[in-house]
Protein backbone atom coordinates (compact mmCIF):
# COMPACT_ATOMS: atom_id res chain seq x y z
CA UNK A 1 0.00 0.00 0.00
CA UNK A 2 1.24 3.46 -0.85
CA UNK A 3 2.11 5.79 1.90
CA UNK A 4 0.09 9.00 2.22
CA UNK A 5 1.64 10.85 5.13
CA UNK A 6 4.71 10.05 7.17
CA UNK A 7 5.67 12.02 10.26
CA UNK A 8 9.10 11.61 11.79
CA UNK A 9 9.93 12.92 15.24
CA UNK A 10 7.47 15.83 14.89
CA UNK A 11 7.29 18.34 17.72
CA UNK A 12 4.90 21.29 17.87
CA UNK A 13 4.96 23.95 20.54
CA UNK A 14 2.70 26.87 21.46
CA UNK A 15 5.05 29.23 23.26
CA UNK A 16 6.61 27.05 25.92
CA UNK A 17 3.83 24.46 25.87
CA UNK A 18 4.61 21.30 23.91
CA UNK A 19 1.57 20.11 21.97
CA UNK A 20 3.07 17.24 20.00
CA UNK A 21 6.14 15.42 21.28
CA UNK A 22 8.43 13.41 19.00
CA UNK A 23 5.47 12.24 16.97
CA UNK A 24 6.06 9.28 14.62
CA UNK A 25 3.33 7.97 12.38
CA UNK A 26 2.78 6.57 8.90
CA UNK A 27 -0.59 6.79 7.19
CA UNK A 28 -1.39 4.81 4.08
CA UNK A 29 -3.67 5.52 1.17
CA UNK A 30 -7.15 4.04 1.39
CA UNK A 31 -7.01 4.22 5.16
CA UNK A 32 -9.67 6.03 7.10
CA UNK A 33 -8.16 7.17 10.36
CA UNK A 34 -10.03 8.29 13.43
CA UNK A 35 -8.14 10.15 16.11
CA UNK A 36 -9.67 10.16 19.58
CA UNK A 37 -8.55 11.42 22.95
CA UNK A 38 -9.13 14.05 25.59
CA UNK A 39 -9.24 17.76 24.76
CA UNK A 40 -5.91 19.53 24.44
CA UNK A 41 -3.91 16.48 23.46
CA UNK A 42 -2.87 17.84 20.09
CA UNK A 43 -5.37 16.03 17.84
CA UNK A 44 -6.41 19.14 15.94
CA UNK A 45 -2.86 20.42 15.87
CA UNK A 46 -1.81 17.16 14.27
CA UNK A 47 -4.36 17.60 11.46
CA UNK A 48 -3.47 21.25 10.99
CA UNK A 49 0.20 20.30 10.60
CA UNK A 50 -0.65 17.97 7.73
CA UNK A 51 -2.31 20.89 5.93
CA UNK A 52 0.61 23.18 6.85
CA UNK A 53 -1.78 25.48 8.71
CA UNK A 54 0.35 24.88 11.78
CA UNK A 55 4.14 25.10 11.86
CA UNK A 56 6.10 22.27 13.34
CA UNK A 57 9.08 23.06 15.52
CA UNK A 58 11.01 19.93 14.89
CA UNK A 59 10.84 16.88 12.64
CA UNK A 60 9.90 15.98 9.08
CA UNK A 61 6.57 15.43 7.32
CA UNK A 62 6.27 13.55 4.02
CA UNK A 63 3.25 13.59 1.70
CA UNK A 64 3.14 10.76 -0.84
CA UNK A 65 6.83 10.16 -0.28
CA UNK A 66 7.78 13.79 -0.85
CA UNK A 67 9.22 15.81 1.97
CA UNK A 68 6.92 18.81 2.52
CA UNK A 69 8.33 20.36 5.65
CA UNK A 70 11.47 19.92 7.67
CA UNK A 71 12.35 21.62 10.93
CA UNK A 72 15.22 21.47 13.35
CA UNK A 73 14.69 23.16 16.71
CA UNK A 74 12.53 25.93 15.31
CA UNK A 75 14.42 26.27 12.02
CA UNK A 76 11.59 25.56 9.62
CA UNK A 77 11.94 24.83 5.92
CA UNK A 78 8.81 24.37 3.80
CA UNK A 79 9.83 22.32 0.78
CA UNK A 80 6.68 22.54 -1.34
CA UNK A 81 4.44 25.35 -2.52
CA UNK A 82 2.31 25.76 0.56
CA UNK A 83 -0.84 26.86 -1.25
CA UNK A 84 -0.64 24.05 -3.76
CA UNK A 85 -0.20 21.56 -0.94
CA UNK A 86 -3.17 22.98 0.96
CA UNK A 87 -5.38 22.72 -2.09
CA UNK A 88 -4.50 19.00 -2.30
CA UNK A 89 -5.24 18.36 1.37
CA UNK A 90 -8.84 19.30 2.19
CA UNK A 91 -9.76 20.24 5.74
CA UNK A 92 -13.11 20.86 7.40
CA UNK A 93 -13.30 22.54 10.79
CA UNK A 94 -15.52 22.17 13.80
CA UNK A 95 -16.97 25.63 13.32
CA UNK A 96 -17.86 25.24 9.62
CA UNK A 97 -16.11 28.55 8.80
CA UNK A 98 -18.33 29.32 5.87
CA UNK A 99 -17.81 32.83 4.57
CA UNK A 100 -20.82 34.86 5.72
CA UNK A 101 -20.76 37.36 2.88
CA UNK A 102 -21.11 34.72 0.19
CA UNK A 103 -24.08 32.58 -0.70
CA UNK A 104 -23.85 28.82 -0.23
CA UNK A 105 -23.15 28.36 -3.91
CA UNK A 106 -20.42 31.01 -3.92
CA UNK A 107 -18.85 29.51 -0.82
CA UNK A 108 -18.40 26.27 -2.74
CA UNK A 109 -17.32 27.76 -6.07
CA UNK A 110 -14.91 30.32 -4.60
CA UNK A 111 -11.89 27.98 -4.58
CA UNK A 112 -12.52 26.26 -7.92
CA UNK A 113 -13.09 29.57 -9.73
CA UNK A 114 -10.48 31.83 -8.15
CA UNK A 115 -7.77 29.28 -7.38
CA UNK A 116 -8.20 26.62 -10.01
CA UNK A 117 -9.44 28.94 -12.74
CA UNK A 118 -12.35 26.65 -13.56
CA UNK A 119 -15.03 28.39 -15.69
CA UNK A 120 -17.87 29.65 -13.51
CA UNK A 121 -20.59 27.64 -15.25
CA UNK A 122 -18.66 24.41 -14.78
CA UNK A 123 -17.86 25.20 -11.15
CA UNK A 124 -21.53 25.93 -10.45
CA UNK A 125 -22.63 22.68 -12.07
CA UNK A 126 -20.13 20.73 -9.97
CA UNK A 127 -21.16 22.63 -6.81
CA UNK A 128 -24.78 21.66 -7.40
CA UNK A 129 -23.78 18.02 -7.77
CA UNK A 130 -21.84 18.15 -4.52
CA UNK A 131 -24.72 19.88 -2.78
CA UNK A 132 -27.04 17.16 -3.94
CA UNK A 133 -24.58 14.57 -2.63
CA UNK A 134 -24.75 16.05 0.87
CA UNK A 135 -28.50 16.61 0.55
CA UNK A 136 -28.50 20.38 0.18
CA UNK A 137 -31.11 21.07 -2.51
CA UNK A 138 -31.08 17.45 -3.68
CA UNK A 139 -33.79 18.02 -6.28
CA UNK A 140 -32.23 21.05 -7.88
CA UNK A 141 -33.06 19.94 -11.37
CA UNK A 142 -36.79 19.83 -10.84
CA UNK A 143 -37.40 22.46 -8.17
CA UNK A 144 -35.83 25.84 -7.76
CA UNK A 145 -32.60 25.33 -5.81
CA UNK A 146 -33.26 27.84 -3.10
CA UNK A 147 -30.85 26.82 -0.34
CA UNK A 148 -27.76 27.36 -2.46
CA UNK A 149 -28.72 30.99 -2.96
CA UNK A 150 -29.03 31.67 0.76
CA UNK A 151 -26.39 32.96 3.12
CA UNK A 152 -24.80 30.64 5.70
CA UNK A 153 -26.58 32.36 8.59
CA UNK A 154 -29.91 31.22 7.17
CA UNK A 155 -28.95 27.55 7.37
CA UNK A 156 -28.99 25.18 10.34
CA UNK A 157 -25.76 23.91 11.87
CA UNK A 158 -26.10 20.52 10.22
CA UNK A 159 -26.76 22.05 6.83
CA UNK A 160 -23.80 24.39 7.21
CA UNK A 161 -21.48 21.55 8.08
CA UNK A 162 -22.65 19.62 5.01
CA UNK A 163 -21.96 22.68 2.88
CA UNK A 164 -18.49 22.90 4.44
CA UNK A 165 -17.93 19.28 3.35
CA UNK A 166 -19.09 20.14 -0.17
CA UNK A 167 -16.78 23.14 -0.23
CA UNK A 168 -13.79 21.00 0.71
CA UNK A 169 -14.72 18.36 -1.89
CA UNK A 170 -15.11 20.99 -4.60
CA UNK A 171 -11.33 21.40 -4.58
CA UNK A 172 -10.91 17.71 -5.46
CA UNK A 173 -8.57 17.06 -2.54
CA UNK A 174 -6.49 13.90 -2.35
CA UNK A 175 -7.29 13.45 1.32
CA UNK A 176 -9.96 14.86 3.60
CA UNK A 177 -9.07 16.03 7.10
CA UNK A 178 -12.06 16.41 9.39
CA UNK A 179 -11.42 18.34 12.57
CA UNK A 180 -14.18 17.53 15.10
CA UNK A 181 -16.77 18.30 12.49
CA UNK A 182 -19.62 16.92 14.60
CA UNK A 183 -18.67 18.43 17.97
CA UNK A 184 -20.79 21.54 17.49
CA UNK A 185 -23.82 19.49 16.48
CA UNK A 186 -26.51 17.57 18.38
CA UNK A 187 -26.19 13.77 18.26
CA UNK A 188 -28.88 13.21 15.60
CA UNK A 189 -27.22 15.77 13.33
CA UNK A 190 -23.84 14.21 14.02
CA UNK A 191 -25.25 10.84 12.98
CA UNK A 192 -26.51 12.44 9.80
CA UNK A 193 -23.06 13.84 9.01
CA UNK A 194 -21.68 10.35 9.52
CA UNK A 195 -24.11 9.04 6.90
CA UNK A 196 -22.87 11.61 4.42
CA UNK A 197 -19.25 10.80 5.19
CA UNK A 198 -19.99 7.18 4.33
CA UNK A 199 -21.62 8.30 1.11
CA UNK A 200 -18.65 10.52 0.28
CA UNK A 201 -16.35 7.62 0.96
CA UNK A 202 -18.36 5.31 -1.31
CA UNK A 203 -18.45 7.93 -4.06
CA UNK A 204 -14.89 9.20 -4.07
CA UNK A 205 -12.88 6.55 -2.21
CA UNK A 206 -10.99 9.43 -0.67
CA UNK A 207 -8.73 8.82 2.34
CA UNK A 208 -10.08 10.49 5.46
CA UNK A 209 -8.64 11.44 8.79
CA UNK A 210 -11.08 12.57 11.39
CA UNK A 211 -10.65 13.88 14.88
CA UNK A 212 -13.62 13.07 17.08
CA UNK A 213 -14.80 12.58 20.65
CA UNK A 214 -17.32 9.92 19.65
CA UNK A 215 -15.64 6.54 19.55
CA UNK A 216 -18.68 4.84 18.12
CA UNK A 217 -18.75 7.40 15.37
CA UNK A 218 -15.07 6.78 14.78
CA UNK A 219 -15.42 3.03 14.77
CA UNK A 220 -18.28 2.94 12.30
CA UNK A 221 -16.35 4.90 9.71
CA UNK A 222 -12.65 4.39 10.28
CA UNK A 223 -10.41 1.52 9.39
CA UNK A 224 -7.81 2.49 11.95
CA UNK A 225 -8.09 4.19 15.31
CA UNK A 226 -5.54 6.30 17.11
CA UNK A 227 -5.87 7.35 20.73
CA UNK A 228 -3.82 10.31 21.77
CA UNK A 229 -2.79 11.52 25.17
CA UNK A 230 -0.51 14.41 26.02
CA UNK A 231 0.82 14.83 22.51
CA UNK A 232 1.53 11.16 21.88
CA UNK A 233 -0.28 8.23 20.31
CA UNK A 234 -0.96 5.73 23.08
CA UNK A 235 -3.06 3.23 21.12
CA UNK A 236 -2.91 2.55 17.39
CA UNK A 237 -5.24 -0.23 16.29
CA UNK A 238 -7.31 -1.44 13.34
CA UNK A 239 -10.94 -0.51 14.00
CA UNK A 240 -11.96 -4.15 14.00
CA UNK A 241 -9.65 -4.93 16.88
CA UNK A 242 -10.73 -2.11 19.16
CA UNK A 243 -12.43 -4.57 21.51
CA UNK A 244 -9.04 -5.78 22.73
CA UNK A 245 -8.56 -2.45 24.43
CA UNK A 246 -11.63 -2.47 26.63
CA UNK A 247 -9.53 -2.72 29.73
CA UNK A 248 -7.02 -0.09 28.74
CA UNK A 249 -6.97 2.40 31.56
CA UNK A 250 -6.90 5.53 29.36
CA UNK A 251 -9.58 4.30 27.00
CA UNK A 252 -12.14 3.21 29.54
CA UNK A 253 -14.16 6.40 29.61
CA UNK A 254 -14.35 6.46 25.82
CA UNK A 255 -15.41 2.89 25.38
CA UNK A 256 -18.31 3.06 27.81
CA UNK A 257 -21.56 2.61 25.93
CA UNK A 258 -22.73 6.02 24.79
CA UNK A 259 -26.46 5.49 24.37
CA UNK A 260 -27.98 7.09 21.34
CA UNK A 261 -24.90 9.24 20.75
CA UNK A 262 -23.01 8.89 17.52
Amino acid sequence: MNELFRLEDVTVMYGTHTVLKGFNLTIFERERIAICGPSGTGKSTFLRCLNLLERIRHGVIYFRGQKIIEARDGNVKVLVNENVHRSRVGIVFQEFNLWPNKTILNNITEGPIYLRGIPAAKAVERARELCALVNVDPFHRTTRGKLVNKYPSELSGGQRQRVALARALAMDPEVLLLDEITSALDPPLAAEILRYLRKINETFHIPMMLVTHHVEFARSLATRLLFMKEGKVIVDTPAAKLDQYYDHVDLKEYLEPMGEDA
Partner: protein
Protein backbone atom coordinates in the same frame (compact mmCIF):
# COMPACT_ATOMS: atom_id res chain seq x y z
CA UNK B 1 -53.14 86.13 15.13
CA UNK B 2 -52.21 83.32 12.79
CA UNK B 3 -49.02 83.74 10.83
CA UNK B 4 -49.50 84.93 7.31
CA UNK B 5 -47.51 82.46 5.23
CA UNK B 6 -46.26 83.84 1.95
CA UNK B 7 -44.82 80.78 0.30
CA UNK B 8 -45.48 82.16 -3.15
CA UNK B 9 -42.76 84.69 -2.56
CA UNK B 10 -40.19 81.92 -2.34
CA UNK B 11 -41.05 80.44 -5.67
CA UNK B 12 -39.12 83.09 -7.53
CA UNK B 13 -36.04 82.10 -5.55
CA UNK B 14 -36.03 78.48 -6.72
CA UNK B 15 -32.77 78.89 -8.68
CA UNK B 16 -31.08 80.05 -5.48
CA UNK B 17 -32.42 77.06 -3.54
CA UNK B 18 -31.35 74.73 -6.31
CA UNK B 19 -27.89 76.27 -6.32
CA UNK B 20 -27.71 75.87 -2.53
CA UNK B 21 -28.78 72.25 -2.77
CA UNK B 22 -26.14 71.58 -5.43
CA UNK B 23 -23.39 73.09 -3.27
CA UNK B 24 -24.61 71.15 -0.26
CA UNK B 25 -24.60 67.97 -2.37
CA UNK B 26 -21.08 68.73 -3.61
CA UNK B 27 -19.81 69.29 -0.08
CA UNK B 28 -21.44 66.04 1.01
CA UNK B 29 -20.21 63.89 -1.86
CA UNK B 30 -16.65 65.24 -2.01
CA UNK B 31 -16.15 65.00 1.75
CA UNK B 32 -17.66 61.50 1.80
CA UNK B 33 -15.30 60.27 -0.91
CA UNK B 34 -12.20 61.94 0.56
CA UNK B 35 -13.13 61.08 4.16
CA UNK B 36 -13.80 57.45 3.26
CA UNK B 37 -10.51 57.00 1.43
CA UNK B 38 -8.49 58.62 4.23
CA UNK B 39 -10.50 56.80 6.91
CA UNK B 40 -10.02 53.41 5.22
CA UNK B 41 -6.26 53.83 5.06
CA UNK B 42 -6.08 54.98 8.69
CA UNK B 43 -8.42 52.20 9.84
CA UNK B 44 -6.39 49.50 8.09
CA UNK B 45 -3.16 50.89 9.56
CA UNK B 46 -4.73 50.96 13.04
CA UNK B 47 -5.75 47.32 12.81
CA UNK B 48 -2.33 46.05 11.74
CA UNK B 49 -0.28 44.29 14.38
CA UNK B 50 3.27 45.03 13.22
CA UNK B 51 5.46 46.59 15.93
CA UNK B 52 7.00 48.90 13.30
CA UNK B 53 3.66 50.63 12.99
CA UNK B 54 3.38 51.64 16.65
CA UNK B 55 4.62 55.25 16.09
CA UNK B 56 2.29 55.58 13.09
CA UNK B 57 -0.60 54.27 15.17
CA UNK B 58 0.14 56.78 17.95
CA UNK B 59 0.04 59.58 15.39
CA UNK B 60 -3.25 58.33 13.97
CA UNK B 61 -4.74 58.11 17.45
CA UNK B 62 -3.70 61.70 18.17
CA UNK B 63 -5.25 62.75 14.86
CA UNK B 64 -8.48 60.90 15.69
CA UNK B 65 -8.59 62.34 19.19
CA UNK B 66 -8.02 65.90 17.97
CA UNK B 67 -10.74 65.63 15.35
CA UNK B 68 -13.05 63.83 17.74
CA UNK B 69 -12.66 66.36 20.56
CA UNK B 70 -12.64 69.58 18.53
CA UNK B 71 -16.06 70.78 17.43
CA UNK B 72 -15.97 70.80 13.64
CA UNK B 73 -17.10 74.43 13.60
CA UNK B 74 -14.15 75.46 15.77
CA UNK B 75 -11.77 73.55 13.50
CA UNK B 76 -13.15 75.15 10.36
CA UNK B 77 -13.18 78.69 11.77
CA UNK B 78 -9.66 78.19 13.07
CA UNK B 79 -8.39 76.96 9.69
CA UNK B 80 -10.15 79.81 7.90
CA UNK B 81 -8.95 82.67 10.06
CA UNK B 82 -5.69 81.53 11.65
CA UNK B 83 -3.90 79.41 9.03
CA UNK B 84 -3.23 82.64 7.08
CA UNK B 85 -1.94 84.37 10.22
CA UNK B 86 0.28 81.55 11.46
CA UNK B 87 1.50 79.86 8.28
CA UNK B 88 0.51 82.28 5.57
CA UNK B 89 -1.73 79.60 4.06
CA UNK B 90 -4.94 81.10 2.73
CA UNK B 91 -7.88 78.95 1.63
CA UNK B 92 -11.27 80.19 0.56
CA UNK B 93 -14.33 79.18 2.59
CA UNK B 94 -15.34 76.34 0.25
CA UNK B 95 -11.90 74.71 0.39
CA UNK B 96 -11.80 74.95 4.19
CA UNK B 97 -15.25 73.38 4.30
CA UNK B 98 -14.11 70.53 2.03
CA UNK B 99 -11.02 69.90 4.15
CA UNK B 100 -12.76 70.20 7.52
CA UNK B 101 -15.69 67.96 6.57
CA UNK B 102 -13.40 65.34 5.02
CA UNK B 103 -10.99 65.19 7.95
CA UNK B 104 -13.82 65.05 10.46
CA UNK B 105 -15.47 62.14 8.65
CA UNK B 106 -12.16 60.32 8.16
CA UNK B 107 -11.65 60.08 11.92
CA UNK B 108 -15.04 58.40 12.40
CA UNK B 109 -14.53 56.09 9.45
CA UNK B 110 -11.09 55.05 10.67
CA UNK B 111 -12.77 53.84 13.86
CA UNK B 112 -15.52 51.98 12.02
CA UNK B 113 -13.04 50.25 9.71
CA UNK B 114 -10.72 49.26 12.53
CA UNK B 115 -13.70 47.81 14.39
CA UNK B 116 -14.88 45.93 11.31
CA UNK B 117 -11.46 44.39 10.73
CA UNK B 118 -11.21 43.30 14.34
CA UNK B 119 -14.63 41.70 14.07
CA UNK B 120 -13.58 39.38 11.24
CA UNK B 121 -12.94 36.01 12.86
CA UNK B 122 -9.55 34.47 12.22
CA UNK B 123 -11.37 31.32 11.13
CA UNK B 124 -12.58 32.90 7.86
CA UNK B 125 -8.99 33.59 6.94
CA UNK B 126 -8.07 30.06 7.98
CA UNK B 127 -10.81 28.68 5.75
CA UNK B 128 -9.21 30.50 2.84
CA UNK B 129 -5.71 29.37 3.73
CA UNK B 130 -6.97 25.82 4.19
CA UNK B 131 -7.93 25.50 0.53
CA UNK B 132 -4.66 27.11 -0.56
CA UNK B 133 -5.63 30.72 -1.21
CA UNK B 134 -2.59 33.02 -1.27
CA UNK B 135 -2.85 35.99 1.08
CA UNK B 136 -3.52 38.68 -1.57
CA UNK B 137 -6.46 36.61 -2.80
CA UNK B 138 -7.74 36.19 0.76
CA UNK B 139 -7.47 39.95 1.20
CA UNK B 140 -9.36 40.65 -2.00
CA UNK B 141 -11.98 37.92 -1.91
CA UNK B 142 -12.59 37.40 1.81
CA UNK B 143 -11.35 40.20 4.04
CA UNK B 144 -12.26 43.22 1.93
CA UNK B 145 -15.85 42.16 1.11
CA UNK B 146 -16.31 41.31 4.78
CA UNK B 147 -15.08 44.75 5.89
CA UNK B 148 -17.57 46.33 3.49
CA UNK B 149 -20.37 44.10 4.69
CA UNK B 150 -19.75 44.74 8.39
CA UNK B 151 -19.09 48.45 8.07
CA UNK B 152 -21.52 49.59 5.38
CA UNK B 153 -24.58 50.22 7.59
CA UNK B 154 -22.53 52.33 10.02
CA UNK B 155 -20.96 54.14 7.08
CA UNK B 156 -24.36 54.97 5.64
CA UNK B 157 -25.38 56.44 9.01
CA UNK B 158 -22.21 58.57 8.96
CA UNK B 159 -22.91 59.63 5.37
CA UNK B 160 -26.42 60.78 6.26
CA UNK B 161 -25.00 62.85 9.11
CA UNK B 162 -22.43 64.30 6.76
CA UNK B 163 -25.25 65.88 4.77
CA UNK B 164 -26.34 67.74 7.91
CA UNK B 165 -22.80 68.73 8.90
CA UNK B 166 -22.46 70.71 5.66
CA UNK B 167 -24.58 73.50 7.22
CA UNK B 168 -21.46 74.54 9.13
CA UNK B 169 -19.95 75.79 5.87
CA UNK B 170 -22.47 78.64 5.90
CA UNK B 171 -20.40 80.31 8.60
CA UNK B 172 -17.52 80.59 6.13
CA UNK B 173 -19.74 82.27 3.54
CA UNK B 174 -20.22 79.17 1.39
CA UNK B 175 -23.63 79.52 -0.23
CA UNK B 176 -24.97 76.07 0.54
CA UNK B 177 -28.59 75.60 1.59
CA UNK B 178 -28.48 77.28 5.00
CA UNK B 179 -26.52 80.23 3.70
CA UNK B 180 -28.98 80.52 0.82
CA UNK B 181 -31.81 80.78 3.33
CA UNK B 182 -29.85 83.48 5.19
CA UNK B 183 -29.48 85.47 1.97
CA UNK B 184 -33.12 85.12 1.00
CA UNK B 185 -34.16 86.17 4.48
CA UNK B 186 -32.10 89.34 4.20
CA UNK B 187 -33.63 90.14 0.82
CA UNK B 188 -37.27 89.36 1.64
CA UNK B 189 -37.58 89.53 5.43
CA UNK B 190 -39.51 86.24 5.18
CA UNK B 191 -37.27 84.30 7.53
CA UNK B 192 -39.87 81.74 8.58
CA UNK B 193 -40.65 80.74 5.00
CA UNK B 194 -37.02 80.61 3.96
CA UNK B 195 -35.91 78.42 6.87
CA UNK B 196 -39.01 76.26 6.65
CA UNK B 197 -38.27 75.64 2.99
CA UNK B 198 -34.74 74.40 3.67
CA UNK B 199 -35.94 72.45 6.71
CA UNK B 200 -38.29 70.56 4.39
CA UNK B 201 -35.43 69.88 1.96
CA UNK B 202 -33.25 68.49 4.78
CA UNK B 203 -36.12 66.40 6.12
CA UNK B 204 -36.82 64.90 2.71
CA UNK B 205 -33.17 64.05 1.94
CA UNK B 206 -32.30 62.76 5.41
CA UNK B 207 -35.61 60.95 5.65
CA UNK B 208 -34.89 59.16 2.40
CA UNK B 209 -31.38 58.35 3.60
CA UNK B 210 -32.80 56.90 6.78
CA UNK B 211 -35.23 54.73 4.85
CA UNK B 212 -32.25 53.29 2.96
CA UNK B 213 -30.42 52.80 6.26
CA UNK B 214 -33.36 51.01 7.90
CA UNK B 215 -33.81 48.86 4.84
CA UNK B 216 -30.15 47.85 4.96
CA UNK B 217 -30.39 46.94 8.61
CA UNK B 218 -33.17 44.52 7.82
CA UNK B 219 -31.33 42.87 4.94
CA UNK B 220 -30.10 39.37 5.73
CA UNK B 221 -26.82 40.15 3.99
CA UNK B 222 -25.89 42.79 6.56
CA UNK B 223 -27.49 41.20 9.61
CA UNK B 224 -25.72 37.90 9.77
CA UNK B 225 -22.89 37.46 12.17
CA UNK B 226 -20.42 34.65 12.65
Amino acid sequence: MAYDWQLGLLLQYWPAFLNGLIITAKLTVVSIVAGTVIGYVLGVLLSMKSPYLIPVKILINVYNALLGWLPLLVLMVWMYYFLPVLFNIKFDGLTVAYIGLSLNLSAFIADVIRGAIEEIPRSYIDAGRAIGMPFPLILRRIIFPEIVRISLPSMVALYINQFKWTTLASVLGVSELLHTADTIMIQTYRSLEAYTAIAVIYLVVVGFGNLVYMRMQRMEFFRQRA
